[in-house]
């Protein structure tokens, strides 16, 4: 921000000259702030690493995660099985690697869908106001009254635990939060003079919403998305742990822990490895989410 508004004409000339010099773009500033903190940098590397692991799971996994072997039950770690084997003789490391696919896809898909539907609902409610706002807000209130996990368990138990069901479950569970944030932000942005100016210039309502309002409320939505990726991974693990998430024999971090729990006294490696994987990823995503929030929040921005 130039402070030329308080200065005189000469100062304006200076400001004009300053404005000619290229300012650091948003993207550069973003990268700079985000990567400034060592913790965030590490978190970033961790998340990228896990994404790569998920993408290249079939190439990285040393064994078929589903192949059982009655001769190799409950082995301790060895050169052949780095994290040992479980009660069916399946390689734990391979299951962990393949399990990252399920966990991360849920972690990314549901918040993205929820952000889309939530923003749609919230912006509609916030911009239209009146009866539309009241109906949408009450529905959101109703959904919000349920804890996310409870809602997820409810729907998963009713519909069963297929891949898309879980995505739907988590999307429904997260949508109200996005809608709330989008509605409140929209109501604030709607009052901005530039929106009124756009109306005065003859801009149509849909265009005002998509060009002038949505980009200006994107910051809190993105933060929410980052924060809920972590929750999403956690909830998927919880659902799988409870047996209503990813269905066996397909691996996910949640059901690796679940299988490991019943077999805890034979080998501890599945529980430890699954738990650690979840902890690391959730922590890393949360750290990134916090940094993004700090960057986008004008209150904490330097």
């Amino acid at each position: 921000m130039t402070d030329a508004s308080t200065a005189e004409a000469s100062a304006e000339l200076v400001a004009e000259r300053e404005a000619l010099a290229p300012e650091p773009g948003f993207r550069e500033a973003f990268a700079q702030v985000i990567l400034e903190r060592p913790s965030t940098r590490i978190a970033f590397v961790v998340v990228v690493l896990f994404i790569l692991i998920a993408v290249f799971a079939p190439l990285l996994a040393p064994h078929d995660p589903l192949r059982q072997s009655i001769l190799q039950i409950n082995r301790q770690p060895s050169w052949d099985h780095w994290l040992g084997t479980d009660q069916f003789g399946r390689d734990v490391l391979s299951r962990l690697i393949h399990g990252s696919q399920n966990s991360l896809i849920f972690g990314l898909l549901s918040p993205v869908f929820a952000a889309f539907f939530g923003t749609l609902l919230g912006v509609t409610a916030g911009y239209m106001g009146g009866i539309v706002d009241r109906v949408i807000s009450r529905v959101i209130d109703m959904l919000m009254a349920f804890p996310e996990l409870l809602l997820a368990i409810l729907i998963a138990a009713a519909l069963g635990g297929s891949f898309w069901n879980i995505v739907v479950v988590l999307t429904v569970a997260f949508t109200p939060g996005f809608a709330r944030v989008a509605r409140a932000s929209t109501m604030a942005v709607k009052q901005e003079p530039y929106v009124e100016a756009a109306v005065a210039a003859g801009v149509s309502t849909p265009r005002i919403i998509f060009r002038h309002i949505v980009p200006n409320i994107a910051a809190p939505i993105v933060v929410l998305m980052a924060l809920w990726s972590a929750s999403s991974i956690r909830i998927e693990a919880t659902l799988s742990f409870l047996g209503i998430g990813t269905q066996p024999p397909n691996p996910s971090w949640g059901n690796i822990i679940r299988d490991g729990l019943s077999n805890m006294f034979a080998t501890q490696w599945p529980i430890a490895a699954g738990g650690l994987a979840i902890t690391i990823v959730v922590l890393a995503i949360s750290i990134i989410g916090d940094s993004v929030r700090d960057f986008l929040d004008p209150e904490t921005n330097q």
Binding site: E8, E12, A19, A200
Partner: protein, 326 residues
């Protein structure tokens, strides 16, 4: 009358319950000819901005109720269906807002924002549109327009933003430009530049300008006609020359006396006692009565009508009509 572009007749804007309405604009009538500039002056709360916003139908109805006629080129804008208004806004009537600092979308580049205004009303190729945007930026006197297309509003100063706002308002060569206190938020030197730019635009396109301001200096500089508003009513309406030479209404006289003079520095600045009454508290009679130095008994009972006292000079004041009768 030469070609009358905007003719506002008995415009009223009301809020609140029908039985006890809150009239923020009360039977306002005035007109603007093509190529001319009309200023509306008055204190804050006198209804001048509301009048301008109703021309573009930017006052939300409901809750507001608007009555009267707003004839733009012979067509009553109040009868145009609401969904057809976006086609008129920006194309036939452009508007410059009061706050240049906040009236531009912070996340769209200057070039895109001006291009958007063109795109809405005229179809042309992207290249031609870019040319047009550059022309507009040159027109409003922004240095280095090519280098500025991709810039964002926060890289601009207030005066530069107001120029961009003007470029947006002028994007489709509107025949009427409404400027709501375009210079209030700017430094004096920038004010002069912005006014000069508006006059320049008017000369080139023969557009009319409706200038809303509380700065009589600005009025003297750019307007041909002046409408003085007080508490939602037009109290005086005159050519700029006769208004400054011979203001009739006590309110206008008070306004003129409260302008600081360059030559006389010792005197304390004149101040009209009191302030504009809240719309709810105005009872029968002249709203200016409590603050008026020339008030009479009749003023408490009856609102004086707006009547002509000289060619093209009307005022609404019992004291004036009494004086003229004598």
């Amino acid at each position: 009358m030469s070609d009358r572009l905007l003719d506002i007749r008995d415009l009223s804007v009301e809020f609140g319950p029908v039985a006890r309405p809150l009239r923020v604009v009360d039977r306002v009538s005035f007109s603007i000819d093509a190529g001319k500039t009309l200023g509306i002056v008055g204190e804050s709360g006198s209804g001048k901005s509301m009048t301008a916003l109703s021309v573009l139908r930017l006052v939300p109805e409901p809750p507001a109720r608007i009555s009267g006629q707003i004839l733009f080129d012979g067509r009553d804008l109040l009868k145009v269906p609401r969904r057809n208004m976006p086609a008129i806004r920006g194309k036939d009537i452009g508007m410059i807002f009061q706050e240049p600092m906040a009236s531009l979308n912070p996340l769209m580049s200057i070039g895109d924002q001006i291009a958007e205004a063109i795109m809405l009303h005229e179809s042309m190729s992207a290249d031609r549109r870019r040319e047009r945007v550059l022309d507009l930026l040159r027109l409003v006197g922004l240095p280095d327009p090519e280098g500025r297309l991709g810039a964002y509003p926060d890289q601009f100063s207030g005066g530069m933003r107001q120029r961009v706002m003007a470029a947006i308002a002028m994007a489709c060569n509107p025949r009427l430009l409404i400027a709501d206190e375009p210079t209030t938020a700017l430094d004096v030197t920038i004010q002069a530049q912005v006014l000069e730019m508006m006059l320049d635009i008017r000369r080139r396109f023969n557009s009319a300008i409706l200038l809303i301001t509380h700065d009589l200096g600005v009025v003297a500089e750019v307007c041909e006609r002046v409408v003085v508003m007080y508490a939602g009513k037009v109290v005086e309406d005159a050519d700029v020359g006769s208004l400054f030479a011979n203001a009739l209404h006590p309110y206008t006289q008070g306004l003129l006396r409260s302008v600081p003079s360059l030559t006389d520095t010792r005197k304390r600045l004149y101040q009209i006692p009191g302030s504009v009454p809240p719309a709810r508290t105005i009872k029968a009679g002249c709203p200016f009565r409590p603050r008026c130095p020339a008030r009479m008994d009749r003023c408490a009972v009856e609102m004086p009508p707006l009547v002509p006292y000289a060619p093209g000079h009307r005022a609404a004041c019992w004291a004036v009509s009494k004086e003229m009768a004598e």
